[in-house]
Symmetry: C2
Subunit: 291 residues, 2 copies
């Protein structure tokens, strides 16, 4: 496995691969890998001749009051895990290499970033779109793999790629979950034991929403009322948002349908967790009866 | 010479060229060619194995009160001229192909677009940066050629390419001028005979500034006072801006030096003309003595 620390080294490698007719698959990450990341890499492994991942905790997608400094990092562990799943190269730049002095260019995806996390985290998706544009120009992938756990991010990237005519296929992968249903996240390490139990309210309330939809409920307000009540029945939870939106536009929907999804952002203690479910898709989690 | 009207056809061609190891040179234009455009193409011809130009009057870089609708167009004439200078392909898309329904992604270069035309034409450079990002992703050039006549545009593109890690060389070409010094522009066709004479105030006042600098004047205010007086001595002129700025940051400079340039935007009748001179560089124009 190769490690590239500079833009130029990574770009030179990408150019050589393309000249050789190799198909480059790419998984951008912020590191501190869990099974969710590894699943994206396994998919990338299948999709390309040469699999690049990046590890970069991108400062421009964190707000001033967010957890940039304490975001968990462990490069040596990540390197070992990446090698085990067959990654060919890690692009691991430093902040100065990515954002040199007088850096001043940003990519804005407007419509689909207005609501949900875009409303809650000002500038977040601008940072995501910008760093992904940079990474795509550096790694030059034919195909890139993103998780559906960050559903709005996936839609933002798809929209940006379409609008800016980036010649890249995007694969969206189902959320990888713990055995009890909790969506995997690098931020789960922040949770105390008690908070870890309350964190289950997210996936379980999604399951509740799914069951209501399957039973014929199409009123988004009614589904959200139930979901809200359910999450709030757990201690240490504070809902940031719970919304049902159109999968293409991320605009609020009044009616639940297969072109909509429910998205949650919930503070559990001090840790902000997100999860979502696209109606009509699989959500295979153990749901405790009677709650 | 090939003509590509769709993004997909152009991108497929670019991919094939790159697989064959061909070097792609690219000159983006809004058409209605004059010798300035042709000089850019001649330079592009030298720089690449395959020379692509684009012709696209980009709506997103025009303000609501600007001349988008009346901007001059003549594709058949342009096609003939391009063929004569050895262009291999014209990318000639329509608005719907470039900006499909629900288009929502824009590229902002912040610092260098604040002043001069960026201040005078709100959103102009956002449109330029966005369409150039799209065109670069469609044509996939190794090298691109821009004119120094639009100096702030050249700096914006250079900054964007650096910041977003686009792997493209940028060549900045000297302004092509009429025999009497007037900078070539597609907008010159708007000028009446009398206005055409007044339009010479731009290049001549730049020459005046150059002479003051060469005589030892370093006070930007004094140079600009002379330049302003000179331009205003012509009828039908109204100065939009006349400024001396740093070539890298496009921030106003107090002192004239080789890291600065003087930029003019002047309305001559209803036609807005721009011109500029980088101090220390060549400005070879006939200057009428005694004026």
């Amino acid at each position: 496995m190769e490690i590239f620390n500079t833009v130029k080294d990574m770009q030179d490698k990408a150019n050589r691969l393309r000249e050789q007719g190799k198909r480059i698959a790419f998984v951008p990450t912020m590191g501190y890998f869990h099974e969710g990341h590894l699943d994206l890499m396994r998919e990338g492994r299948k999709r390309g001749d040469y699999l690049v991942i990046s590890i970069f905790v991108n400062p421009t997608q964190f707000g001033p009051a967010e957890d940039l400094d304490k975001y968990p990092r462990d490069f040596e562990r990540d390197r070992t895990l990446a090698e085990e799943v067959g990654v060919d190269a890690i692009f691991f730049p430093d902040n100065e290499g990515m954002y040199p002095p007088r850096y001043q260019t940003y990519v804005d995806v407007e419509g689909v970033t207005k609501n949900l996390c875009g409303a809650a985290r000002q500038g977040h998706f601008r940072g995501v779109a910008t760093v992904c544009t940079k990474l795509f120009n550096i790694v030059k992938p034919h195909v890139t793999v993103f998780g559906k756990k960050d559903f709005q991010q996936l839609v933002t990237i798809r929209t940006m790629i379409r609008d800016l005519n980036m010649d890249i296929d995007v694969i969206g992968m189902p959320t990888t979950r713990e055995h009890d249903g909790l969506a995997m996240s690098s931020r789960n390490v922040y949770l105390s034991e008690e908070e870890r139990e309350s964190a289950l309210s997210l996936s379980r309330s999604l399951f509740l929403a799914k069951k209501m939809f399957e039973a014929g409920e199409t009123d988004a307000g009614k589904v959200l009322a139930e979901v809200t009540r359910y999450i709030e029945s757990y201690p240490h939870t504070r809902i940031d948002y719970a919304k049902i939106s159109c999968v293409d536009t991320i605009e609020e929907a009044q009616h639940v349908g297969v072109d909509t999804f429910i998205a949650l952002a919930v503070k559990v203690g001090k840790t902000r967790l997100i999860d979502n479910h696209v109606f009509g898709e699989v959500l295979d989690i153990p749901y405790p009866e009677g709650r």
